[in-house]
């Protein structure tokens, strides 16, 4: 897999291309982009058949191991990688460790092990075990396992430990990665933590750059433990996006996990972040809220961009969510119908909003 910046903006923002996926050599994924968030290997609420009605081109599937580790036995038996097993072979998998749109319980660490909070409870995982699973999953890209789950206000001591641990874990992942035949078509992504402490953060980035020959991208963690980011004070995060973005070489693609609202996402894009995890759309859908952004800069966007579809006012509203939107939901269904489905707790509601 390759990443090239095709166009740099006046500031740090940039347009890039992800290409050279071995299973789909002609595919170009343009960045900045949002991946599609998965649970158990499937896009939340959308089957492969429905997904194909929404997107005709391959998408990045963001697969946190905490919600997909149960696939291990089946993927291993089939031996064709995780996307094939999950019924989405034409798409590109990016395996991550945690789902940062939900609160991850605070860590309790053993030397060399990271807690994975799966639906069957906590699983202490070593870098070696993690790499074993990657060799079975064979994703198109994957994050190195890291100690990246903490709030932005973490104590200096915890930060310092997290950076040390993350560096060690990365070194193990790199050793395994270099020796692995199974992972020769998978891109390894380093993880930056410790952004709140200049010195430790530099150490972490330095360690990543030491392995730059085998690392294709960088992900930023350690600034959230999954608590609701939608209401957070934003300046602190914008500064971090800027600082870390500026410290990374241009040729590495940059992944930002977490459930950021559109304004924060735009700020991250401004500072050169390329790939987002798609949890925002999932979260809104689960709350029954439709996202209505026209992306049309020629129009003043004065109307609210979030529609709470359960609201009484849509009861007899027979217009689509967004007039002129080409998605299947807007083309065929009305606000009134979606409200009805939400009120009756029918699953189709989630399907339509996800689109």
């Amino acid at each position: 897999m390759r990443f090239i910046v095709t166009k740099a903006g006046y500031g740090s923002e940039r347009i890039g291309n992800l290409t050279g996926f071995v299973k789909c050599p002609n595919v170009v994924i343009e960045t900045p982009t949002s991946g599609l968030f998965t649970q158990g290997g499937s896009i939340v609420h959308l089957t492969a058949d429905v997904l194909a009605r929404v997107f005709t081109n391959p998408q990045i599937l963001v697969m946190p191991l905490t919600n997909s580790i149960q696939l291990e036995t089946g993927v291993k038996a089939q031996n064709e990688g995780v996307t094939k097993f999950a019924g989405l072979p034409e798409h590109v998998a990016c395996v991550t460790v945690n789902n940062f749109s939900e609160i991850v319980p605070p860590g309790h660490f053993e030397p060399g092990k990271i807690p994975l909070w799966t639906k069957h409870g906590k699983r202490m995982t070593t870098a070696d075990k993690y790499m074993d699973i990657m060799e079975i999953f064979r994703p198109d890209m994957f994050l190195a396992i890291a100690d990246g789950c903490m709030s932005v206000n973490e104590t200096p001591k915890r930060l310092s430990k997290a950076v040390d641990r993350t560096c060690k874990l990365l070194n193990t992942c790199v050793d395994r990665y270099k020796a692995s035949k199974e992972l020769k078509n998978s891109a390894l992504v380093g993880v930056v933590v410790g952004a709140q402490n200049q010195k430790k953060c530099d150490e972490c980035i330095e360690n990543i750059l030491k392995h730059v020959d085998c690392i294709s991208g960088v992900a930023l963690e350690g600034i959230t433990d999954g608590t609701d980011l939608l209401k957070e004070d934003t300046n602190q995060y914008c500064d971090i996006f800027k600082k870390i973005g500026g410290a990374l070489p241009k040729e590495l693609f940059r992944i930002l996990e977490g459930c950021w609202n559109p304004a924060m996402t735009l700020s991250a894009i401004e500072h050169g972040w390329d790939i987002f995890d798609g949890t925002y759309a999932v979260k809104l859908t689960n709350m029954g809220i439709a996202l209505k952004l026209s992306f049309d800069v020629t129009k003043e966007n004065e109307t609210p961009y979030l529609l709470d579809m359960v609201d009484e006012r849509y009861k007899e509203d027979f217009s689509p969510i967004l007039e002129g939107c080409e998605c299947l939901t807007c083309k065929k269904h009305t606000r009134a119908y979606i409200r009805h489905l939400l009120n009756t707790r029918e699953m189709l509601a989630s399907v339509l909003l996800s689109m």
Binding site: G41, A77, A336, Y337, L341, E346
Partner: protein, 395 residues
């Protein structure tokens, strides 16, 4: 002679020479439906997370909506303003609605039935509501389905008291007359009477014969599939289809298990509905000819086969049992995938039966099917007896 155009025309395409099975085309205002047909149930104006487009691709030609639920939510006003349920849910093919009476009696223990109608307390605001035959038709006229059901007097199928059954049967006939005179859209919607009489042959005969005298375009057979013994069930189906004439479609309510479908098609039924295929999907169960697979079971953990190797549905094309096993208890996607397969399974079974009836090979198909379901030839007595009544010998 009537001057108004009919809202339904039914033509028998081919008739099995041995059994009562036949194929037909039922032309309805929104779609021409090939019979015998299975109608999946979309209780609240949707089908378990499946898009209307997907239903069309699975070959669903007619689906069922529940009047009781739709009348509450979204409610008659919203449906009226939307221009009917078809427009509201984005479904362009045929629809059928029930009368709401069965739901009420089965969901609400406190329902009280009088000559006027069904009286019950609303689960939403606890107010007293009276569902009369007129009210049921009024709501169904708003929903706008191609086929609507008369309100019938529902008694538990296994109920024993002769007087009550007789009362219910006769009241159902009286209510039919009230429904027909309340019906406002006879050129766009068809009222089907419901043959009652539970398991009493005389009452059922009386009910069917009385309905035959009415100006209606099709019939429903009700009051069955309510927990009665199969040995009691099939003779009532057979009795009803024997009386109801051949030129109008016959709809057996609430039946949808594969073996039941095959037997009842042989007995001359044209239409079926059942919540079972979608309900069982919710519990992780996928339908196959031999019964069902519970995908929650650990034996599927490494099973790389699709649910059914011969199935061409979108689920079987892409997903293994092993994968469905992984997500079946946690992801809504699993429920959608299994529902798609299960509805496809029903559609495929009906299509296979239609093809065999048309080719003149239906009796052979029935034998082959039963041998697959019961490979040890442990055929239940009701299957043996019902099929032998139409000339198919399993032994």
């Amino acid at each position: 002679m009537k001057n108004t155009p009919k809202a339904l025309s039914f033509t028998v395409q081919s008739q099995c020479l041995k059994t009562r099975a036949r194929t037909g085309l039922m032309k309805l205002p929104h779609y021409t439906v090939k019979t015998p047909v299975f109608m999946p149930v979309g209780t609240q104006g949707t089908m378990k997370g499946i898009l209307p487009d997907q239903l069309e691709e699975i070959d669903c030609e007619i689906i069922l909506g529940n009047t009781y639920h739709l009348g509450n939510r979204p409610g008659v006003d919203v449906l009226k303003k939307a221009g009917g349920l078809h427009k509201f849910m984005g479904w362009n093919r045929a629809l059928l609605t029930d009368s709401g009476g069965f739901q009420m009696v089965s969901l609400l223990k406190l329902a009280e039935i009088t000559e006027e109608g069904v009286k019950f307390r609303s689960p939403y605001d606890n107010s007293e509501i009276m569902l009369t035959p007129e009210k049921s038709i009024e709501i169904q006229n708003c929903i706008g389905a191609d086929i609507i059901m008369q309100l019938d007097d529902v008694v538990q199928t296994t109920f024993q008291d002769y007087d009550r059954i007789k009362e219910a049967t006769e009241r159902t006939s009286r209510w039919l007359d009230r429904c027909i005179s309340a019906h406002q859209r006879p050129t766009e919607q068809n009222i089907f009477p419901i043959v009652q009489g539970l398991l009493n042959a005389d009452l059922r005969k009386q009910s069917a014969e009385e309905h035959m005298t009415k100006d209606v375009n099709g019939f429903a057979i009700g009051g069955l599939s309510g927990g009665e013994a199969k040995d009691d069930f099939w003779p009532m189906v057979s009795l009803s289809t024997g009386i109801l004439d051949n030129n109008r479609p016959r709809y057996l309510m609430g039946v949808g298990l594969a073996v039941d479908l095959v037997v009842c098609v042989a007995l001359g039924v044209d239409m079926f509905d059942c919540v079972f295929p979608t309900r069982t999907a919710r519990f992780g169960c996928a339908l196959i000819n031999k019964g069902q697979l519970n995908l929650k079971q650990k034996i599927y953990e490494s099973d790389l086969n699709p649910i059914d190797t011969d199935c061409l549905c979108e689920t079987c094309k892409r997903y293994t049992r092993a994968y469905l096993h992984c997500i079946v208890s946690s992801e809504t996607v699993a429920c959608h995938l299994i529902s798609v397969h299960n509805i496809y399974f029903q559609m495929r079974l009906m299509r296979t039966m239609r093809e065999n009836i048309e080719k003149g090979t239906f009796p052979e198909f029935v034998k082959q099917f039963m041998n697959e379901v019961y490979p040890q030839k442990t055929f239940p007595s009701w299957v043996v007896n019902s099929l032998s009544s139409v000339g198919i010998s399993l032994e």
